[in-house]
Amino acid sequence: MDLTLTPKHRALRDEVDAFIAAHRDAAPRPGGGRKRPDRKALDWQALLLEHGYFARTIPREYGGFGAPHDVIELAIIADAFSRAGISPGIHNQGISMLVPTLLEVGTEEQKRRWIGPTIRGEVIWCQGYSEPGSGSDLAAAQTRAAVEDGHFVINGQKIWTSSAHFADMMFLLCRTEPDKSKHAGLSYLLLPMNTPGIEVRPLRTMTGRAEFNETFFTDVRVPVDQIVMGRGDGWHVANVTLKYERMLLGDPNKLQQRLEAIRRMMEQPGADGARLLDRAEWRDRLLRLQGEVIAARNHNMRLLTETAEGVDSGLGRFIVKYHGTMLGHRLASLALDVMGSTGLLYEPQGEVAEDDPATTWQIDYMYDIGLIIGGGSSNIQKNIIGERGLGLPREPKAAVPAGRN
């Protein structure tokens, strides 16, 4: 354990602070990710990439900054942006999930072609995983891709494709080898969303907004070389992506930001002039969550170190999504309680304007349940933790499909 800042680190911290001070007016407001980055966001992203405050460790030949892995450097940068409440750059499924997947299993050509435009925010990706009949049971995907004269011809339907309505590209899990067993029959394809035959229909959620889509494929043709790894390797590649999705969904920096926001609310005097932070039952609830957030943040530091050193964290990584999403929901729950009846007000502004705090927290409170369910529900996570993390036996195959009693 050595978290002391070297002179080099201190210099970096000062440099980032100076950068933020000099450029903060150029920053788009934090958040986003649910819409196509606008000019301001793209310019900001370019600035961050140039200074190595984004994609810092991605090799230069793929469009990154090419710095060696240093957990403290990454923490210093994240902390500086978080303290200042300034956007740390674009986070979307392409950047957080596809890019690390390609870095891990993509070909040299795929890395050179896709990583740069993706991290610059120019190419937006969506994820074609879930289907109406196979939400938790991803490997049961039925969307078919038959091979015809050098192309995959795709037919079927995906659901929960979150940014499909403005994405440029999709990474798609589909069945190319129908003769093979369930898990061995899948492939992982990359395809442009403007390919003829793709139809995107918005899907409204409990928040009242259309945060997701259904995507329909009718004879969609994709050249056979638009594949990551080989035919039948789709399940393997998908699991690499899922690994990064789990990390993304359990992000402890987001938890910390929430905790801070709640603390600030609790420091405001209420209608009776008293601060909730001075009421022990409220303070204790906040502190209890703070303890859990600290644990999550420290754990994340450990995982970052292990990643940098090439250690397979196994269990430590499997728990992140389940732990983080449940904790996130509990933080949002406290926020609602803190706001009380005024926190019931709800007028989402869509993409046109900023939501008020009550609406924002209500959306978080509901959206978090979506996160608990999506990207592998908590039960799926517990299977993974129990089986892959702890080595417990899989559920045995049923002799007969279970029906009613």
Binding site: S136, I159, M206, A271, D337, S341, L344, E347
Partner: protein, 365 residues
């Protein structure tokens, strides 16, 4: 001499549920919830025909003269079907307000109008119930000024009953001069809140005949808490019922998902939490009429406990539905948000438990 519902009560609950199931299929609910006013004239009329308007109004004033347990059963049914209809404030708290602090003339004048469905009263008190937001009203020379946020059942209300810090309550006409009522659509689009700005408004009635106005106001608060608890009971029961039905249908990994212990235990946990809540709500409601020394404690505890259980059930039942539970498609979220509303209105669990401690004399108010 029994702990349970009478035959009449069972019948009443079933007929109300039947009516609501008939009137509020998902597409109708969606339509009625859209404006977010928590009011629909036709549904309101129908509920009136079932006797809901005058449920608690004494027979001498044209009501059915029933008790809080009946009101709780009605609230449970309304919560079960997420009915966009004024109830907790307009038909329970307002009636209790007149009965506990209105003089004979005021009761004679207003209770029949409530029972007839003509007076729909939005009601608000702030500090006393743990509501947050603005709460600064002053009565000077018979005129009311200031601001009061979060009046319940305020959408399309004909009147507002605004509590003063001293426990008296002023009834104001919705359209009167000096009255600005701003509809605040809540996350629960089946019930709205209204923020009131008053500039020298003239009350049409001032409820001040109680010897102890604060105690009278607390009784109104307690009645409100009981029906919000009952509303959560209904909404949570609905979510559990639908989770169980979904778990019995949905197939994943080649099996009905309810056969997986993971899903089954979620349902079992929900049932284990929720089932004892039924008797708790019954007792809290009954105590309002029959066990005055326990009324405040029972109401606050029921509100707090149902809020905690409701939140868990809301999450778990949504989880059982997987992605479908998170969409708008099944409309499961109407009950989810109903539970959210019930928790945050009239004081959250911490506040209610505090009040329960005060009611037991464990601490000073």
């Amino acid at each position: 001499m029994r702990f349970g519902l009478t035959e009449d009560q069972g019948l009443f609950g079933r007929s109300l549920r039947g009516f609501l199931a008939d009137r509020l299929p998902l597409d109708a609910l969606r339509r009625l919830a859209e404006p977010g006013t928590g009011f629909d004239a036709e549904l309101w009329r129908g509920l009136g025909e079932l006797g809901l308007h005058g449920l608690l109004v004494p027979e001498e004033h044209g009501g059915a003269g029933l008790g809080m347990l009946d009101a709780a059963l009605a609230a449970e049914a309304l919560g079960y079907h997420a009915a966009p209809a004024p109830f907790a404030a307009a038909l329970v708290m307002a009636v209790q307000a007149f009965r506990s602090a209105g003089d004979a003339e005021q009761q004679r004048q207003w209770l029949p109008r409530i029972a007839a469905g003509q007076a729909r009263i939005g009601l608000g008190f702030a500090g006393l119930a743990g509501q947050t937001g603005r709460a600064a009203l002053r009565l000077e020379g018979g005129r009311l000024s200031g601001a009061l946020d979060g009046l319940m059942d305020g959408g399309d209300a004909t009147h507002f009953l605004a509590y003063l810090p001293d426990g008296r309550a002023a009834l104001i006409e919705a359209g009167a001069p000096g009255v600005t009522a701003t509809l605040r659509r809540s996350v629960d689009r089946t019930r709205a809140l209204v923020d009131l700005d008053l500039a020298g408004a003239a009350p049409v009635a001032l409820l001040q005949s109680s010897n102890d106005p604060l105690a009278a106001a607390r009784r109104v608060r307690d009645a409100g808490r009981v029906v919000l608890a009952a509303d959560t009971l209904g909404a949570a029961q609905n979510m559990l019922d639908r989770a169980v039905a979904y778990a019995n249908e949905r197939v994943q990994f080649g099996r009905v998902i309810g056969s997986f212990q993971g899903v089954k235990y979620m349902c079992a946990d929900m049932a284990t939490m929720l089932e004892p809540c039924r008797a708790m709500v019954w007792y809290a409601a009954y105590a309002q009429d029959a066990v005055p020394e326990e009324a405040a404690m029972a109401a606050s505890h029921a509100k707090a406990h149902l809020a905690e259980v409701g939140r868990e059930v809301a999450r778990l039942a949504t989880e059982v539905h997987g992605g479908m539970g998170f969409t708008d498609l099944l409309g499961l979220h109407y009950q989810f948000k109903r539970i959210t509303f019930d928790r945050q209105a009239l004081g959250g669990p911490e506040r209610c438990r505090h009040d329960a401690a005060v009611a037991q004399g464990w601490i000073a108010a």
